[in-house]
Amino acid sequence: MNLMEHQGKALFRDAGIPVPRSGHATTPDDVGSFIETNPGDWVVKAQVLMGGRGKAGKIKSAQGAAEGRAVAREIMATPMPPNRQNPQGEKINSVLVEERLAIAKEAYCAITVDRAARKPVFIVSRFGGMDIEEVAEQHPESLAKYYVDTAIGYSPFIGRELAFAAQLDPGYRRAFPAIAGALYDLFFRYGAKLVEINPLALTHDGRVIASDAKVELDDDALYRNPGVAEWRTTLPLDEDELLAEGAGVGIRNFRRFPGNVGTMANGAGLAMATMDAVSNAGGRIANFLDVGGGANAQRVRNCYELVVNNTGATVFFINIFGGITRGDEVARGIVEAMAQTASRKIPLVIRLTGTNEEEGRRILAQAGMTPVETMDDGARKAVELAS
C-alpha cells in the first residue's frame, strides 16, 4: 500500500528522520486556524497518492491564515487531473500545512528491493526534487547505488560511501549517514517496498530535512504494524481494487480493460495466459481475473457478477486447470452460481481440464453447458460470441 506524504512523514519523524514542522488539515478552515495559532511562512500541499502535484498547482505557499484558507480552498476544489496510471484523477481530501524551507540544495535518497540482486538497494543522487527516472536519463552518472548485505544490515560507512559517490554537497555529509540509517531501519521495520526522500533538502541554515516522503508498504507485512495497517481504510484504493475487495478476491487479482471478452482463470499465470489467448484469437479483453484456489459456488458467482456488472464483457470465458482444484467441484460451483445469480446473463465459454475433468464435464453437460477442449478453442469461441 502507498502512503500519503503526511503518513510517510509521520513514520519518518518516529524513525528520527528530520521533517519540516507541519499540521494535517481536512478543511480550508482547519488550515486557517492552524496558521493563526502558528504564524509564519507555510506551504499547503494536497495529500494524494498521485505524483505531479506541483505541476497541477496543488502545492501553494501561504503567509497568513486568510491566504492559507484561500489556497487550501483552491487546492481542494478540484481533484488531481487524470494521468495514464490514474485515468480518474484523485479527489483531494486533506492538505499538509508545512514549514516553508529555505532550500539551498535538493538531493535524492531512496531504498527499494532489488529483485535481481535479491538485496535492498540504496539509490542516491545529488539531483533531487525531480522524477528519479528523469535523473536516470539526464544524469545517469549522478546515481550512486549500494546493495546492502542483509546479514550485516546498515552501517554508517554505507551513508558515507553514498554521499561521496553521489557527490552530495558537503553540507549533507555530517547528517546523511544517520538519515540513511534511519531510513533503512524504517524500510525493514515497516516492510517497505520503497522509501523515498525526494527532495532531501539542505537548507540555507545547514539543516538536512526530508522535504517529501514517499513510502510504499508490502501488503503482506502490514499485519506486523497494525497501527499503520489501519491507515489502509483512509487511503483511496483504485476502483478495480475496490471492486476486487468487494467481490472477495485479492485486490491484485482483478483488473479491467476496455474490451468485451470477460475472463476468469485459476492462478495468475493461467489468467494472464488466458488474456493472451483471447488477444491471440483477435479478441479484446474486458478484464484480468484470478479466481484463486477454492472455486466454490459463492466464489464463482462473485466473480461472474464482478465481471458482468463492471466491465464491457458480452461473453465470459472461464478457464480452469484442475490441479489441486478439483474439476467436479468447480463444475458444481459454476452450475450453482449461474442458478443463483440475479445479474444479467451473458454467454459462458468454459474450459475445464485436469483433475476429475470427466466428472466435471458431465456435471456441466447435465446443466446444458458444453465445455470446450482447450484454452485456444475457448478463446476462439469466446471471441466469436463476443463480436
Binding site: R118, T150, D218, D220, R255, M275, D290, T355
Partner: protein, 300 residues
C-alpha cells in the same frame, strides 16, 4: 538423473499435521516421494495416517531420518522461522510453498542461509516425474522424460506440462520457482543444474512479465547451452504497466520486465518464443529434431 530431487531424496514436511501439510504429504507419499517424516512442534512422537513419524523440531527429524529436503507448509508469519530452522538443522533443499510471506523476510532468509537451496516461496514445488514430487503439483499430468521445465506460476505450468505430456514429451524435472519478487532459486540457477543433468535433453522456460529472470535466463542459455533445444513462453503480454496482476512478482516498472524485453532477449539467444502454450510442444519437437541451435551473434 534429474535435478534437485530424485527417488532417493529424503523429504520431510514442515507443518505436516496442518490441513494443507497433511493433505499434500499424503499426495506426495502416494506419488512415491521418499517422504521420511514431518515436523509439528508439540506433536513429536505421533505418527501420520501414512505411518510417518512426526517430530517436534527439524533438528530431531534430520537426526532421526537423515532428511535433506524439506517442504514447508506453514502460514506466512512463521515461514521465515521455518526456513531458518531447516537451514540450521542442515536441510540442503527447502521447498517453500507458502504464499504471502513479507518480502523482507524472504530478503533476509535468502541473504543469510548460504549453502541451503530454497525453491520458492509462493511456488507449486518441484517434481522429477516418475521419481518424486515435493509440493502441490498434480502428479498425474506429468510423465518421465527428457524435458526440463521452468516456470514462475502454478496452473500455467500444469497447462504447459499437460500439453507436453499429451504430445509424448516427458519431463526430467519441473521447477516452479515461485511468483514472489524475491525467490530463493532463479531460472539461471536452475539452468546451471539442467546443464549438467544427462537426463535433460530439452528445456521449456515459462516466464512472465516483471523482473529480469527471463532476460538473465536467455543470456545464460545463449552463452552456456548452445546445443540444448529450448522453447520459451512469456505470460502476461497484455498486462498494463505499473500494476501487479495477481503474482506479487508480475509488475512492470519502466522498460524493465516488459514482455517485449523478454521476448527480444530469448530471440537474441536463438530461443523461439511460443505465442501461446499450445504451440510449445510443436516448437520444442522442431527444436529437438533440428539439433544444435544456430550460433549466436557475437554482439549479444
Amino acid at each position: 538423473m534429474s535435478i534437485f530431487l530424485d527417488k532417493n531424496s529424503k523429504v520431510i514436511v514442515q507443518g505436516i499435521t496442518g490441513a494443507e501439510g497433511s493433505y499434500h504429504a499424503d499426495r506426495m507419499h502416494r506419488y512415491g516421494t521418499n517422504l521420511v517424516g514431518g515436523v509439528t512442534p508439540g506433536k513429536g512422537g505421533q505418527t501420520t495416517a501414512q505411518g510417518l513419524p512426526v517430530f517436534d523440531t527439524v533438528k530431531e527429524a534430520v537426526e532421526a531420518t537423515g532428511a535433506t529436503h524439506s517442504c514447508i507448509f506453514v502460514p506466512p508469519p512463521f515461514a521465515a522461522d521455518a526456513l531458518y530452522e531447516a537451514y540450521e538443522a542442515g536441510i540442503t533443499l527447502a521447498i517453500c510453498i507458502t504464499e504471502g510471506i513479507p518480502v523482507h523476510d524472504t530478503l533476509k532468509v535468502v541473504g543469510t542461509t548460504r549453502g541451503m537451496r530454497i525453491i520458492g516461496p509462493n511456488c507449486p514445488g518441484l517434481i522429477s516425474p516418475g521419481k518424486a514430487l515435493v509440493g502441490i503439483m498434480p502428479g498425474h499430468i506429468f510423465k518421465e522424460g527428457g524435458v526440463g521445465v521452468l516456470s514462475r506460476s502454478g496452473t500455467l505450468t500444469y497447462e504447459v506440462v499437460d500439453l507436453l505430456t499429451r504430445a509424448g514429451l516427458g519431463q526430467s524435472t519441473c521447477v516452479g520457482v515461485g511468483g514472489d519478487p524475491i525467490i530463493g532459486t532463479t531460472f539461471v540457477e536452475c539452468l546451471r543444474e539442467f546443464k549438467n543433468d544427462p537426463q535433460t535433453e530439452a528445456l521449456v522456460v515459462c516466464g512472465e512479465i516483471g523482473g529480469s529472470d527471463e532476460e538473465e535466463a536467455a543470456a545464460f542459455i545463449g552463452a552456456h547451452l548452445p546445443e540444448m533445444p529450448v522453447v520459451a513462453f512469456v505470460g502476461g503480454r497484455n498486462a498494463p504497466p505499473g500494476k501487479s496482476l495477481g503474482h506479487a512478482g508480475a509488475i512492470i516498472s519502466g522498460s524493465f520486465g516488459t514482455p517485449q524485453s523478454k521476448i527480444k532477449a530469448f530471440e537474441a539467444a536463438g530461443v523461439p518464443v511460443a505465442g501461446r502454450p499450445s504451440e510449445i510442444p510443436a516448437f520444442l519437437a522442431r527444436e529437438i529434431s533440428r539439433g544444435k541451435r544456430a550460433p549466436q551473434p557475437a554482439s549479444f
